[in-house]
Every structure is written in C-alpha cells, then in structure tokens.
Homo-oligomer: 329 residues x 2
Amino acid sequence: MATIADVADYTGLSRATVSRVINDYPHVSKDKRRLVHEAMKELGYFPNTSARNLRNRRTDLVAVLIPRLTNPFFTLILDGIEKVAEENGFQLIICQTKSSKKKELEFLNLLQTKQVDGVIFTSIENDWEQIQPYTDHGPIILCNEYHHDATVPMVRLNQVQGSYLGTKHLIERGHQRLAYCMGSTSGLSNDRRKGFFQAVNEAGLEVKAEWIFHDTYTMEDGVKTFNKILSLTERPTAIFTGGDEVAAAMVKEAKRNGLDVPGDIAILGFDDQPIASMIEPELTTIYQPGAEIGSRAMTIFIDCLKGKRERVRQSVMELPLSLVIRKST
Amino acid sequence: MATIADVADYTGLSRATVSRVINDYPHVSKDKRRLVHEAMKELGYFPNTSARNLRNRRTDLVAVLIPRLTNPFFTLILDGIEKVAEENGFQLIICQTKSSKKKELEFLNLLQTKQVDGVIFTSIENDWEQIQPYTDHGPIILCNEYHHDATVPMVRLNQVQGSYLGTKHLIERGHQRLAYCMGSTSGLSNDRRKGFFQAVNEAGLEVKAEWIFHDTYTMEDGVKTFNKILSLTERPTAIFTGGDEVAAAMVKEAKRNGLDVPGDIAILGFDDQPIASMIEPELTTIYQPGAEIGSRAMTIFIDCLKGKRERVRQSVMELPLSLVIRKST
DNA sequence: ATGAAAGCGCTAACAC
DNA sequence: GTGTTAGCGCTTTCAT
C-alpha cells in the first residue's frame, strides 16, 4: 500500500509538499501540483484516514444514539441528521440502544476513546448525572429529548403544545370522556401528559384513573389496550394515543368489533407516519417534524465543534407540532 | 488528555506493560495489572482509537450502503447487520446513496482511505466493473443484491421463486389478466419479472405490454399507476406490485373509486411490512426475511476479514421468500 | 515478567 | 515555494 513517502520519493519532492497538495494548500506551484496528482494516480495512493485522524485529532465521525432503527420516526430524524452531515463531510455511526441504559453508556465510550468527535442523542435513557461527565470529551446534543438540568444544546419539539392541540381538538368535537395512552414515563411523555391535562382542565373535564394506560408502544399493545377500553363500564368516547402504529391498530380493532370510527369512538394518532393516511378512516394525528429537528441538531453540533457555539451550556431550540385533521376524530 | 505514556510514568512502568494490560495480554503480574488499572482510572485515561487503528491497520468499522434510511425494508436489513456487528465489536457507518451512482462510488473512498475495514451493499447502482477494483482494499459483500459477474460473497433472496409464488397464487384465484408493476430495472427486478412470467407462461396466459408498468416505487406512484390501470379498456383483474406501500396506496385508490378489493380487482403486495396487516383489506404479500439476510451478510463479512473465507471469489447464499395470504387477493 | 525503541502514515512549525 | 523534522498515541518485536 502506497504511503505519502512513496509519492514523495516518486516525484522527488518532500512529504510536506505532497501533503500540501493532498490538502489543497496554497503556495504550491502548478507544476508540482500536477506532478503529485499524477504520481498519486500512478501509485494508487490514498491518504490513510487513521493517520490523519491521529495527527489532526478529529475523526469527522458522529455517533447517533437511536432506540430502534425500525422505528420510522427515528429514521426520519436520522435522515435529517444525515443530510446535514453529508453536506459537511461527516459520517454517522449508528448506535442502537434498544432503550438500554447500559448500552447507552457503552456507546459513550466511543467519545472517550476519540472514535467519534461527538454524540447526538435522539433518545436518552440514563439520568443526566450519568451523561454529564462525558461532555468533557466532545459535543453532546440532545435531539427530540429534554433534560431539565442538561448542560448542552437541545433541539426539541413542543410536546406540551402538540398534545394540547390534539386534546383540544377532541374536546371541540364534543368528547367528554377521554382515554389517554402513553409510552414510557420519560420527559417527553410527561410533557405530553401536561398538554393533555391542560386542555382537559381548561374544559373542566374529569379523567378517571382507569382511562389512563401505560407502556403502550406497539401495534399489539394497541390491540390489548383497546380491548381494555372496550371492557370498561364507563367507556371513553375518544382515545389519545402516543403513536400512529398504536392508533392504527386500535382503529382496526374497533372495526373488527363492529364499532364506527369516529362515530362510536374517536382515535387520535401521533407522528403522522405514512400509515396514518393509508388506513381507513385516515388518522387524525399530530405531525412531528422529525427530519427538521435532526437537521437542526446536526447543524448545532457542527457549530459546537467549530467553536462557534458553546457546547457545555444549556440551550433549547423548540419547534412546534401541528395537528393534521383527517377522518378518525 | 492522558496518554499511555502518562500512565506509564505514573506507575513507573513502561508503555509496553501498560499496553499489555489494556489489551489483556498474559505475562503481566497481578500486581502491576491492578496498579495500571488504578492509574488509568486515576488519570482518566482512555486509549486513543485513531492511534490504535493506525498501528493495528484495522478500524472495526463497516460501511453499509443503503438507498434510503426511510425505507422500512432496508432498515430491517440494517437492523440484522447491526445485531451481528454489535456482537462482534464492529460499528456501522451509514452511507445513504439515494440511489445515486456517483454517491455510491464516493462512499467507496471510505474503503480506499482505510476509514472502514469493508463495505456491505444493500443495493448497488453501478455496474460491477466500476466496483470490482475496490475489492483490493477490503471485503465487499452484496446483501439483497446479485451481480452475475461479481467476484464477492452475495446473500440474496430468491426473487424468482418469490414472485413465481405470488403470481401463481393470483392465477389460482382465477385471474387471467395480470398487471405487473416494477421499480427499477435492476437485477432484482429482472428476477421478479422472470418469476412472474414463469408462472404466467406455465398457465398459458397472455400479458399485454400495456399491463406492465415501470418506476413504481412510492405511494404516489401507486395512485398514479392504479389510475392508469383503471383507464385501460381491457382492464386487468389482478395487480402484482413491487412493494407494500405501492399496493396499499392502490387498495386505497381502488376503494375511493368504489371498487371492491379483491372482488373487482386483486392486489398483491411485496415485503410484508407492518402496513400490510393494518389496512383494509389486509394485504396478501410476499414476505422477505430482511433482518435475516442482513445478519447473514455481516457474519460472512466477519469471516472474510478474519481470513476464514475467501473474499474475492463469487459465492451465493440464497434464502427463500414466502407467500402470506391475507385478504387483498 | 518487563523494558527499550522502532515505526504505523500523516501534518505543521520552522527554516531556507 | 519547498524541505526538514518532530511528533500524534499506540503496539510489537527483540532484548534481558
């Protein structure tokens, strides 16, 4: 494998000059520049990235922590991150945490060992105290996540506003008994609950404890939860869900039980995934600009790396959610 | 930032011994081993990956070429690759080609510059002659792709068999006039067409040229193509599609036009994505074990890297597709 | 069991 | 405009 020294020898120039050509520096004569290029081609030379990284103390690599690759919302974020990364010469390393605290921490080793320049979290499992020490080693950005005491830039969606909007919509449609299905108990979920109850309280409605459901993530969860709701003596007439998959599964289960959506029961999705407009009736849902927060987060990341922006200081960029009214409510 | 030399100085040992401890080599006394571990913790030392990579001539990094992150089938493959990668201490670099020949070639620079140990293609845009030279620089695996003259390991799905199965099913349901929608004109598409016509010919059916549609990828394409089909004077009674999104959009458009699926027109999907079982009627489709081929490909990749397997020699592993009969046919 | 030292391939400060 | 050279941080012979 040819090295820079080989190119230098071949051309009779020094390694320094060859390096200057490689890196497109000024102060190299046209002649030598061409000479070097010819030699590189002739010898099949390519600069060794590990050597450059060692010397430059950068890798142009970013670790992106994501719970599951098969979750369309997160790949949307990833897509947004990738777009900006690509434009700026960065590569992305995929870190699938499977929502495990342990794995999340393990991936942070990539930062300590300088395998990556920094990390973008699209979801966060550990408490901030666990993460905080790692901020010494490079920029950390929270994307789609928020921690009250995190000392880093955060790009988030206004979940409070989003779920308020959706809930208010249900109430305006005349619903008085609302079921609420949530996923985990993360900060994100708390915000959604906040928005939900804000709308509920404003309207002076009551929400019974038995109308609140936890750990509802998947389509199967949706079916199970829907059946629980059906079996309730005092049954809600509208359901606020934490995702379109859950909502879609519920719509289907409702139809299977001979119920009309939204006539007998209204179902509100979240995310506005492709599936939302494919099912019958089309899902009313809350659109989250996933690609957008991804791009923003990556842009901020780059600014931090370049020192254009302080990286160990809290900052919050918040984007709004919007209600997409279709047929299920 | 602490280096190995700092740890050596701190403990009064040599860098060599510290290195041995880091890499868990034998022939280091218990005492010194503990001493070094304490020092590393004390100094906040972490081995520098770039330096190790340079020295070891490996990065434990694999580039995965994928057309679009937002395509669920490809993230399924990615998930399979990731699983095996994780088990073996490899990290994945995402390379989104957006189906561009140019980008695909650019990503191969990662191989030449030794930024990655090798490459897994989950789709391939260029001709094999373009790719072939890169095999000098590290293992290249084709996953979900096949090139007749490729001199590398390939893991593929038996598309011929899969589409034969689906087409035969349509014919058995009594359909005589079949429409065929394909995506690109890749090897993969050719195989599907082969299976389609195999079944068609066996049954002695005729397929008019106007029943064959190209470049049908997305939901919008599905809607457009379906309307073209509707406007045909001699209209097919069944449609073979290249993906569940397309099929789902067609089902929806059919219903919008007052047609019954499968009564008036049967629609066959491909992939068995979550959406297939969420729409009404549920999609009959062809299941492709995406995660499975991903895992297999990564396993083969590792064998190639370890020299357990020849890497510049054609080999083909083929997995079968299966028909999932639901309600749309 | 431990250490000395060469060298992986590259860049940049400094000299001319 | 070009060359010399000292590292970047690590691993691995080869001694002892």
